[in-house]
């Protein structure tokens, strides 16, 4: 087992484990901290792929700014009431199931569409150019970032947008938690 393979499996298991922990913890704080752990793991995967710029940006934007804000906001709530609101109620449970189904459908659709390379002629060329450049294995950070941008916004555009939707859902969820019954703003 080479170091690269070991690192990949270690990081992959870490990411999947912490990703599962995000879903399985009932305490929102632990979920948020696990999500931060997932982000750091993904950044580490980028480093093993020699994409240092993406790794750094991943750390600054997601782990360093977005998740810190979520954790901070969550700490302002009355978490004991939150645990109950999280794990009870038939209607809310049904809504949760439906939203999970919708979201996973969106992501699966994104991946399938990405594989079909459901893109226009112009961007198809861009993909080919980008992949040709990738073979050259350039080391300058600008070129690597440009290539990644090309691939991301042409071939994997649906997956990328699905991830954007996912982040919006998280943001809306965090705000909804703040305003729901049991939060700091009690319905009087």
């Amino acid at each position: 087992m080479t170091p690269d393979v070991f690192l990949f499996w270690f990081l992959a298991l870490l990411i999947i484990g912490s990703g599962l922990a995000v879903l399985l913890f009932t305490n929102p704080i632990y979920s948020a901290l696990s999500l931060a752990m997932t982000m750091v793991g993904v950044a580490a995967i980028f480093i093993t792929l020699h994409a240092y710029f993406i790794a750094g940006v991943q750390l600054i934007v997601y782990a360093g700014a977005v998740m810190v804000l979520f954790v901070m906001v969550l700490m302002l709530f009355d978490i004991k009431a939150e645990i109950q609101a999280f794990s009870s109620g038939k209607i809310s449970g049904a809504i949760k199931l439906i939203s999970v189904g919708l979201l996973s459908g969106l992501i699966v659709g994104g991946i399938i569409m990405g594989q079909k390379s459901f893109v226009g002629e112009l961007s198809k060329d861009a993909v080919q150019v980008a992949e040709a450049q990738k073979v050259k294995k350039s080391t300058s950070p600008d070129a690597a970032t440009k290539e990644l941008g090309m691939v991301l916004f042409s071939k994997h555009i649906f997956g990328f947008e699905a991830l954007g939707v996912l982040l919006t859902v998280i943001a809306v969820g965090a705000v909804a938690l703040a305003r729901s019954r049991g939060g700091t703003h009690h319905a009087k």
């Binding site: 750091v40 240092y52 750094g56 940006v57 750390l59 360093g64 700014a65 810190v68």
Partner: protein
């Protein structure tokens, strides 16, 4: 890591050495801080244990290690115990990317005086050090104490606010030197001041070619923001003693508290090192280039190895002098200025430093576009 066993071994030892250097500097800094504060406040400070009170550090370390390992009754154990350990990680990881001298060339091997040379050093350092907010939040939440939680919320709000001004103030420097690489940035600051404007080359014999002469505003904003990032006075709202005891580390004692201390001093060291690299020519000696030093060393010795060793040592010394000076400024400011009020802190961050940093970025971009 390297081509053969020797190079890999040296590189591994180097990583450990950099970590130890950072950790071992902390007791000395604590001593300087206590003696320095005493000097500033017209007191004596620790002067009983050993010459000049220097052995006080050793006594303190023994005291910290032998204290009772205490955790509050309702604390969340995993978070409570993980937080001090996590406090060490961001500063240590980021410090590994700081170039401290010119590479050492011994018999065909080239050893960088730096943990790891990354092409995008700045992005990496900013990314890793932005994780420091989690340790504060984990400590505040895990302690299950109201003082800790309030301190943690204040501290993380402050760190997030000032990270924006910090990041924006560096953009001007990145535009100026056109690189994310710290070593290239230092190379661009060697010799005396000279730059190209409208096809002419402007030179000055008296001013070194340092970033601060191109970006004075960015230097001020960056330095102020590093104070806020390392939670030191005048920005230490996180541990305002009069209001919230000791903030996020109220419930910590003994070695666990010492680890938070090391994290704080680590951020201070990182701030000083970055300040030097961005605005004060890094390991470069003012008015002199690395080649000049190498030629001077060639006059002293014949062997290439000796020349390389002398060059590296001289530049390391230059780095250390600047480094120690800025660490002293950190301590000096702490014992000179009073603490901000919370609304003043937020006003300064969002309404003063952020717009000025943004303006500086736009101005720099415009000037660079017009001149070139």
């Amino acid at each position: 890591m390297g081509q053969d066993v020797f190079e890999i071994t040296v590189n591994c030892i180097k990583l450990v050495l950099i970590f130890l250097m950072m950790v071992q500097a902390v007791p000395i800094l604590v001593w300087v801080e206590r003696r320095g504060s005493a000097f500033i406040q017209n007191r004596f400070g620790p002067n009983r244990v050993g010459p000049l009170g220097l052995l006080q550090l050793l006594a303190d370390a023994v005291k910290f290690l032998t204290k009772e390992d205490f955790a509050p009754d309702k604390a969340i154990r995993p978070l409570f115990y993980a937080a001090p350990i996590f406090a060490l990680i961001p500063a240590t990881l980021a410090f590994a990317a700081i170039p401290m001298s010119v590479p050492l060339e011994i018999g065909g091997y080239v050893f960088k005086i730096q943990g790891y040379d990354m092409n995008v050093g700045i992005v990496y350092i900013l990314g890793v050090s932005s994780l420091a907010a989690y340790t504060i939040l984990m400590a505040g939440w895990g302690s299950a104490s109201k003082f800790s939680l309030l301190g943690a919320l204040r501290a993380s709000a402050q760190v997030i606010s000032y990270e924006l001004a910090l990041g924006l103030s560096i953009v001007g420097i990145i535009l100026l030197f056109g690189t994310f690489n710290l070593t290239e940035m230092i190379n661009a600051q060697q010799g005396t001041l000279s730059f190209k404007a409208f096809g002419h080359t402007v030179t000055s014999a008296y001013i070194p070619n340092w970033g601060i002469f191109y970006q004075p505003l960015a230097a001020i904003i960056f330095f102020a923001a590093t104070f806020a990032e390392s939670n030191r006075l005048p920005f230490d709202l996180a541990e305002g003693e009069a209001e919230i005891v000791a903030g996020f580390h109220t419930e910590y004692g003994g070695f666990k508290m010492l680890m938070f201390f090391i994290g704080e001093y680590g951020h201070m060291m990182l701030g000083s090192a970055l300040m030097i690299i961005f605005f004060f020519g890094g390991y470069g000696i003012p008015w002199v280039t690395v080649d000049d030093v190498r030629q001077w060393a060639a006059g002293l010795s014949e062997s290439a190895t000796t020349i390389s060793v002398i060059t590296t040592l001289v530049h390391f010394l230059s780095f250390m002098i600047k480094f120690v000076f800025f660490l002293w400024v950190f301590i000096w400011v702490r014992w000179t200025l009073p603490r901000f009020r919370y609304d003043q802190l937020m006003d300064l961050g969002w309404k003063t430093m952020l717009p000025w940093a943004l303006g500086n970025t736009i101005l720099t971009a415009l000037v660079i576009y017009l001149i070139s």
